[in-house]
Symmetry: C2
């Protein structure tokens, strides 16, 4: 399914008015059904919906192992993903227990709940990266994102081994882009703990939490980290690098993982 749609618009520029075609990013509502019950509706870019569904359920703690999944079926025409898992899920309980509204964020009650369950994560993680590879990884990452430069409407996320990007996804939502990356890596049986997460958007506490749950300990973003993400990251001994653009970046926490050579 196309990720963009052509529209006709009226462009004003320095006093000149013209009718011109242009492209806009599509928003596609995907409803995920777990064991035949409606679970959630995500608004996303309409590709890699299987990875998105898997990554989302993994991030939410609904699934943990591939062996728990009976089947995954995507019906694009009906805007639906049908996933059956072996264990019974009480989806209404799952969400009423949280009631967190994100701002492309998360937080609050979730943060305090999640914090306990994350203790011990990160600290035993031996992932490392060199200064040089921070630069080269983000260069590779930006080059891949160029497809969407024209629309200005998507975020990207990728998993790298420090030398090479292994999975890369774009989406109108930065949480979705990350869940697609997580879902693909999970589906392909990749190990998360020695990988590096690359992001185009801000590192909020929710983005950080999704990474921490997978035991990823190095996150690099083109954008800013937020303070709650830094607090959690520091506590979990994670490495957070922000504003990685061209020949510069900022290491906010966990600089001991960034090596000179």
């Amino acid at each position: 399914m196309n990720l963009t749609r052509e529209v006709l618009l009226t462009r004003y520029e320095h006093g000149r008015i013209e009718e011109t075609p242009d492209i806009v990013v599509r928003e596609y509502p995907l409803t995920i059904f777990v064991n035949e019950e409606e679970f959630v509706t995500l608004l996303c870019s309409p590709n890699n919906l299987k990875y998105l569904s898997l990554g989302f359920l993994l991030s939410e703690g609904i699934i943990k192992e591939k062996s728990e999944i009976e089947y995954v079926e995507i019906d694009e025409g009906r805007n639906a993903a049908y996933i059956n898992v072996k264990e019974k899920i009480n989806s209404s309980k799952h969400f009423t227990g949280k009631r967190i509204l994100t701002t492309g964020c998360g937080g609050g009650t979730m943060f305090y709940n999640v914090f306990g369950s994350l203790q011990g994560k990160g600290s035993d993680n031996k992932a490392l990266i060199t200064y040089k590879n921070v630069i080269s990884s983000m260069k590779e990452f930006s080059a891949k994102s160029e497809v969407f430069v024209n629309t200005g409407g998507v975020h990207s996320a990728a998993l790298s081994n420090g030398e090479k990007i292994l999975t890369f996804h774009e989406d109108v939502g930065r949480h979705n882009a990350l869940d697609k990356v997580i879902g693909e890596a999970f589906d392909k049986g990749l190990n998360f703990s020695d990988k590096i997460l690359l992001l185009s958007g801000r590192i909020s506490s929710e983005m950080l939490t999704k990474a921490a749950k997978r035991n990823i300990s190095i996150i690099i973003s083109r954008s800013a980290p937020m303070d709650l993400a830094l607090e959690i990251g520091k506590e979990l001994n994670m490495t957070i690098i922000g504003f990685a653009r061209g020949e510069r970046f900022n290491i906010y926490t966990g600089k001991e993982r960034v090596m000179l050579e």
Copy 2:
């Protein structure tokens, strides 16, 4: 409460490494209680929490008139907003009925539900703007946003009468920035239908829906609109202007409201 926090970071730039202080944007979890019951937790910038709470409840359809509100009390230390309203609210029903997760977005089921309730909005709205005032409004808007340019971590929203900005707010979440603007205008008894909404971030279907519910019919953003927002906007006869930067902008829908003089 400060919207930013100073942190010490390690900066790498063209081979030079230095320790330096810098500022990051704070994420503050605010739990809104309605009639003593926990309703939702928002992750936001910690200012104008009364406006945020009012705007959020207004956008969610929980309150409609000021007369319905018995009191609003903000307890910053406890990260809580206490709002009492005259009518009984079933908050768990409110959220389980939706189960939409945003990506800084919204959509899906919500979109289809909301669409019906929005029929007739917008079309009777007589708001107008000139080409010149699109440019000047966004110039005023950008000048106000400059405080946060350094952190790269916030969105802004404003309500203008076409000549002058009446309310302006910033937040880590673009939905929150808009809800703060809506909350302040509501609290001050401003009329929405003849105003123009200015945004820094993308126009998603959820941002558009929040505006449509207030009967605002002109939206101008520095960023891109998404296609579902354009579909709803077209249906409701709203004017959507995107990529308004310097001496240029794109009119996607409703160009009849944009006048030469």
